[in-house]
């Protein structure tokens, strides 16, 4: 982690040096104020040279401070995926701010007045592409060693099952914040929908309507979840209605255990990751981890996970024994 903090410091210095030196070196060829915002028709907003300089440096440094805070918080570096996210965002954001600054300087170069600034054109696309590519590359190169598998000597917890008994495990988890998000976006969607229908709003408002409906659905689905473990396998229900349901057959699962995981280790709240290393993360803390025969893993944040893992391992052993 110290290596990461040193690297973050050096990267911050490089980014700040570029952000300060390039506009200063070209100051004689730039108008003051500078065009800093464009719409379809041309530049539509401006800032003084100093304001723009401070603004871009602040954009870079505030993000850097947040990333350092995340690193110092400690948990971000325990997992490969979160290390990849950290490095990716650190590098990607720095490149994005530099690209933005260079685009602004290029568009304002050698024009007499900010209203005459050239359109941004490909600069925006190039900035996005370079930032994304740089971020992905940094995340890939610096993700570090793979996460440690559970110690080979350590037997996973297992419950004793008696003949003639049926044991099942049911647990639920909910997140009040995600539920609140769903309620707020639901109200937003309703207001926007009614206003659009009555013709009070148009254009941009309709775009917002789409966003709030997406937030509503995402918030509802991740506000709560239930997990059921039976001899048929694992069933996970999402949202207050417990629907949709994801079912995993016992034959696909190799073993299970419980572990403490946090949203910062899997990239945030909700449904995270890609198949094979996915996480259903509704809150930090006790999580049920399933390992598939294919080598993949699924992490589900759920209460009472240790008992669930013990039952699942017992059911798996019984299956093999039969």
């Amino acid at each position: 982690m110290n290596r990461a903090l040193t690297a973050a410091g050096i990267w911050g210095l490089i980014v700040t040096a570029v952000l300060v030196s390039v506009p200063l070196a070209l100051r004689d060829r730039l108008p003051d104020p500078l065009a800093t915002h464009w719409s379809g028709a041309g530049p539509d907003n401006h800032m003084s040279f100093t304001q723009n300089l401070l603004f871009t440096v602040a954009m870079a440094l505030v993000a850097l401070a947040i990333m350092v805070g995340v690193a110092l918080h400690g948990k971000a570096f325990e997992r490969r995926l979160s290390r990849a996210y950290w490095w990716g965002f650190l590098v990607g954001w720095g490149l994005f701010v530099i690209g933005m600054e260079l685009s602004i300087v290029y568009s304002n170069l050698d024009v007499s007045d900010w209203t005459r600034a050239r359109p941004l054109g490909w600069g925006v696309a190039a900035t996005m592409a370079v930032a994304a590519a740089g971020g992905v590359l940094a995340g890939y190169l610096l993700r570090g060693a793979p996460d440690q598998a559970p110690e080979p000597g350590e037997a996973p917890p297992r419950l004793r099952l008696k003949a003639g008994q049926r044991s099942v495990w049911v647990s639920r988890v909910s997140n009040a914040w995600l539920a609140a998000l769903a309620v707020v976006s639901g109200v937003g969607a309703l207001v926007l929908g009614v206003s659009t229908a009555l013709g009070l709003m148009e254009g941009a408002a309709s775009g917002l309507l789409g966003v709030s409906v997406i937030l509503l659905v995402a918030g509802l689905l991740t506000s709560s979840a239930t997990v059921r473990i039976t001899q048929d396998g694992v069933a996970m229900g999402f949202g207050p209605l417990g629907w949709p349901v994801r079912r995993i057959r016992l034959s696909k699962i190799e073993s299970a255990w419980s572990e403490v995981r946090h949203p910062s280790q899997v990239g945030g709240w909700g449904l995270r990751g890609v198949p094979g290393m996915a996480a259903i993360m509704l809150r930090g803390g006790d999580c049920l981890v399933l390992r598939y025969h294919s080598g993949g893993q699924l992490v589900v944040s759920i209460d009472d996970a240790a008992r669930g893992a013990a039952l699942l391992n017992a059911l798996l052993a019984e299956r093999v024994g039969r």
């Binding site: 003639g164 008994q165 495990w169 239930t226 039976t230 069933a235 009472d304 008992r307």
Partner: protein, 115 residues
């Protein structure tokens, strides 16, 4: 919540479910104030009718072990959960004693003889 049903148990199913929930609360997986999973999920996992589970939950509410609250679902009431486990074990013991021809009073005598 880990629930275990004995498939050879002759007692009515709702009593068995109530017993399983008592044991689950008693062994410490739920503390006072914790919410239980929805009855529908419990029924689905056990492969029984949701009304059977609801009947068991109502029995436990009448016993004072559970609380039903509008909008908050079913939660564990503020009683010492260890007692729930003892009550359940006593019930099981009584059942077992009857099987071998011992009455309730015989069982009480056995308990009194214990050091």
């Amino acid at each position: 919540m880990l629930l275990t049903l004995d498939l050879n148990d002759p007692r009515p199913l709702h009593e068995q479910v109530a017993g399983a929930i008592r044991r689950a609360i008693g062994d410490g997986s739920y503390a006072a104030g914790d919410r239980l999973p929805p009855a529908r999920d419990l029924a689905d996992a056990l492969g029984i009718n949701a009304n059977t589970v609801l009947r068991a939950l109502r029995e436990l509410r009448d016993e004072g072990l559970l609380e039903f609250r509008r909008g908050r679902g079913v939660s564990v009431a503020g009683v010492p959960t260890g007692r729930a486990l003892i009550v359940q074990r006593a019930r099981d013991l009584l059942e077992e004693a009857k099987k071998y021809g011992y009455s309730r009073d015989d069982l009480i005598d056995v308990l009194k003889e214990l050091p």
